[in-house]
């Protein structure tokens, strides 16, 4: 297991480096970099007081160095927790971001928990009751969930929750807690608000997960060991839980790899519609105003979250299945 862990971490490092290079390229792609424009703007306004600050920023982020040195400075700063400078807000990115990274993380994790909790029983039911009315109904809703754009679902849910329950569910907490330090009251308020985005974001992933669990379990249910178990009189529930379910569970766990990017994508657009204080709306703003350092650090954070998620799911899978930890690393 330790060997597998080391191997897996060694694979992860070049992946992260490659990701950071891609993101740095994206930051630098827009024609005319923000910094030059920023300086020109300041100077045209005759603001000389900021020259010292400009010099400091130049030194800190290496804007006058060749591109590869800039990348190194950026990457090393990133490792120190300094994510660059947001020119639109005129603050270091770290300060602009605030709680958003944590809240994004929270929403994503909750969504994945929700996906598992809902998809598991439904998938098992669908597979054991294949071609029953219940299976057809669930399959239909599953496909509908896959095909409905999540932003529309968010709009409708916000509207109906407002009309029928009289609650305003834009945002992640009651307005009084915004910009307040964390307290039990704030945590409670977040807990009361978080379920709507979680349901909206989780729908598509849940639908996909149900389909896959159903297919996997159906494959297992046709195999001879299960038929034998049933034939010798094992209780159906026990026969199901003891063998086929465990086999069908493997892809279930490894699916985090494909689920996480979906969840984070979904969260980005849903949070724009529902104006959640997560990374989504700010990423959109940053992209619109071409505040590329801010956008880049959000992208980096999202990709990082995905890589870590896949890593954790690989570890869980290896713990569960000895065949995997004995291989030379799984290609996801």
């Amino acid at each position: 297991m330790l060997g597998y862990l080391v191997r897996r971490i060694l694979i992860m490092i070049p992946t992260l480096i490659a990701i950071s290079i891609v993101i740095f390229t994206i930051i630098h792609l827009p024609p005319g970099d923000y910094f030059t424009t920023y300086i020109a703007e300041l100077q045209s306004q005759g603001e000389h007081a900021n020259l010292a600050k400009i010099a400091f920023l130049k030194a800190q982020y290496g804007f006058d160095l060749p591109v590869w040195r800039q990348y190194l400075t950026w990457a090393i700063n990133l490792l120190h927790g300094d994510m660059g400078y947001s020119f639109a807000y005129d603050l270091p990115v770290t300060q602009v971001v605030g709680d958003r990274l944590f809240l994004t993380f929270l929403v994503s994790v909750m969504t994945i928990v929700f996906t598992y909790v809902v998809a598991f029983p439904i998938g098992v039911y669908s597979a054991t009751h294949q071609y029953s009315t219940g299976d057809y109904v669930l399959t239909f809703f599953g496909f509908l969930g896959l095909a409905t754009p999540s932003f529309l679902l968010a709009l409708l849910l916000v509207y109906f929750a407002h009309v029928y329950f009289g609650i305003s569910i834009g945002g992640l907490m009651d307005p009084i807690y915004v910009d307040q330090p964390w307290s039990w009251g704030k945590a409670g308020s977040v807990a009361a608000h978080i379920w709507v985005p979680v349901i909206v974001i989780g729908t598509a992933g849940t639908a996909a997960m149900i389909r896959r669990l159903r297919a996997n379990l159906l494959d297992e249910l046709q195999k001879q060991y299960f038929v034998t178990a049933r034939a010798k009189g094992l209780h159906p529930v026990k026969a199901l839980f003891k063998y086929p379910l465990r086999m069908a569970l493997n892809p279930f766990i490894s699916d985090i790899g494909s689920l996480l990017p979906h969840v984070i994508s979904g969260a980005a657009i849903v949070s724009v519609v529902m104006s959640l204080p997560t990374t989504g709306p700010m990423l959109l703003d940053a992209l619109r105003s071409q505040d590329m350092y801010l956008a880049g650090s959000f992208l980096m954070f999202m990709a990082f979250l995905t890589v870590i998620g896949v890593f954790l799911s690989d570890l869980a899978l290896a713990a569960l299945d000895p065949r995997i930890r004995l291989q030379t690393g799984r290609s996801r």
Partner: protein, 391 residues
């Protein structure tokens, strides 16, 4: 053996057939069997596919949609940008078949407009005294068919001097139905062009990885992993935000489709690679190598055709995610821009709660999105099941 038994054996009636002996007579096939065993691969795929009812229906729907986008100009009652300034945010009209209790040709009711001064809403009330029969195959707004031929024939037109807003109008008084029909042209082709891009990339890169194996394979695999660990939507957002503002709408359209295709190719490349890895060990591949065929020829002539059906099925399943991606991007205002009209651009107007409350029909463009995505999913599922008819 006793004598009695011998005699009883020789007493049996003896039969001799005079027809010449045909050793294959038992294995003779009926015409139907013959047809089955000699069918080509694609014919068998079609037979298998036909059994999947939902997939067939979905395929028919898709075919109808794609034929429809050829004739947008005729199908839409109005032009793309025809404005009816007297009918801003007019709600959808109902089609009636009964007029004062009698069966009549399909008609809509003209409406009276009143501005509600209390909450400043436009109120349109259907007027029972103003039936406006719908005309069919009639002359209406002028258009240039495919930008080449002038015409003014429409499938549906409003009554003379009347109006026909089956799905309501938007904030500029443009007919939503017409705009949805025109939007289909963009939304449906985005997926096709995008999938063509990712198909090409997937086959080339996956082909190289699968055929050469070893280090090339490992490097490409890692590259794919890097791309896949980006959440798609934020990456699409970032890339499309980079498209220069100075680009013309049509360039932006191609830019967006290429961006969509550039990220989705990874799934196809994976599929190609894993198939190639197993196929290149087959005898026919070794034979081709021994005869001196180049790698490109071996991949293109011998390997690809053996799993083309699989590839097409997986490509079909990639299209819906591209359509949804374009819709999401345009909805956020990062994708296509207004002179170009796609379903996502139309949905951009339905961005806030007040639209849901006041003008819910502006959300209707989502219906064709859902129908198309579902149809592609079912169609792709059916294709995938049918793709390997020998199993």
């Amino acid at each position: 053996m006793s004598e009695v038994e011998l005699r009883s054996q020789s007493d049996l009636p003896h039969f001799v057939s005079h027809a010449p002996f045909d050793p294959y007579s038992v294995e003779e096939m009926s015409a139907a069997q013959e047809r089955f065993y000699r069918a080509s691969q694609w014919r068998m795929i079609w037979w298998r596919f036909r059994r999947h009812r939902v997939a067939v229906v979905s395929g028919a729907i898709l075919l109808a949609l794609y034929i429809a986008i050829l004739f947008c100009e005729m199908l839409a009652p109005y032009g793309l940008d025809t404005r009816n300034t007297d009918y801003i945010y007019a709600p959808p009209q109902r089609v009636h078949f009964l007029y004062r209790g009698k069966l009549a040709a399909p008609f809509v009711l003209g409406s009276d407009y009143k501005l509600d001064m209390e909450n400043l809403r436009r109120v349109y009330t259907p007027n029972l005294d103003k039936p406006e029969p719908i005309r069919f195959f009639c002359h209406g707004d002028k258009y240039r068919f495919w930008g080449l031929v002038d015409g003014d024939v429409h499938l549906l037109c409003p009554a003379k001097g009347g109006h026909l807003f089956l799905l309501g109008t938007d904030r500029l008084g443009r007919d939503l139905l017409s705009r949805i029909i025109y939007g289909a042209r963009i939304s449906l082709t985005v997926g096709l062009i995008g999938v063509a891009v990712s198909f090409t990339l997937g086959i080339i890169i996956g082909g190289i990885a699968g055929y050469y194996g070893g280090w090339t394979d490992i490097m490409i695999q890692r590259g794919i992993e890097v791309i896949q660990s980006f959440p798609h939507l934020p990456l699409w957002m970032a890339l499309s935000a980079i498209l220069p503002v100075t680009w013309s709408p049509i360039l932006v359209y191609f830019g967006i489709t290429i961006i969509l295709g550039m990220i989705e190719w990874t799934h196809l490349a994976r599929a190609v690679r894993s198939k190639l890895l197993s196929l290149r060990e087959e005898d026919f591949c070794t034979a081709a190598v021994l005869m001196g065929a180049t790698p490109a020829r071996i991949i293109g002539r011998h390997l690809l055709p053996s799993f083309m059906s699989h590839l097409i099925a997986s490509a079909t399943l990639v299209i819906p995610s591209m359509i949804l991606g374009e819709t999401a991007l345009s909805f956020l205002g990062l994708g296509l821009r207004p002179p170009i009209t796609s379903w996502g651009v139309l949905l951009n107007e339905a961005q806030n709660i007040s639209v849901v409350a006041l003008y819910p029909w502006l959300m209707l463009p989502v219906v064709p999105v859902i129908v198309t995505v579902l149809a592609f999913n079912f169609f792709g599922d059916g294709l995938r099941d049918a793709a390997d008819p020998y199993h």
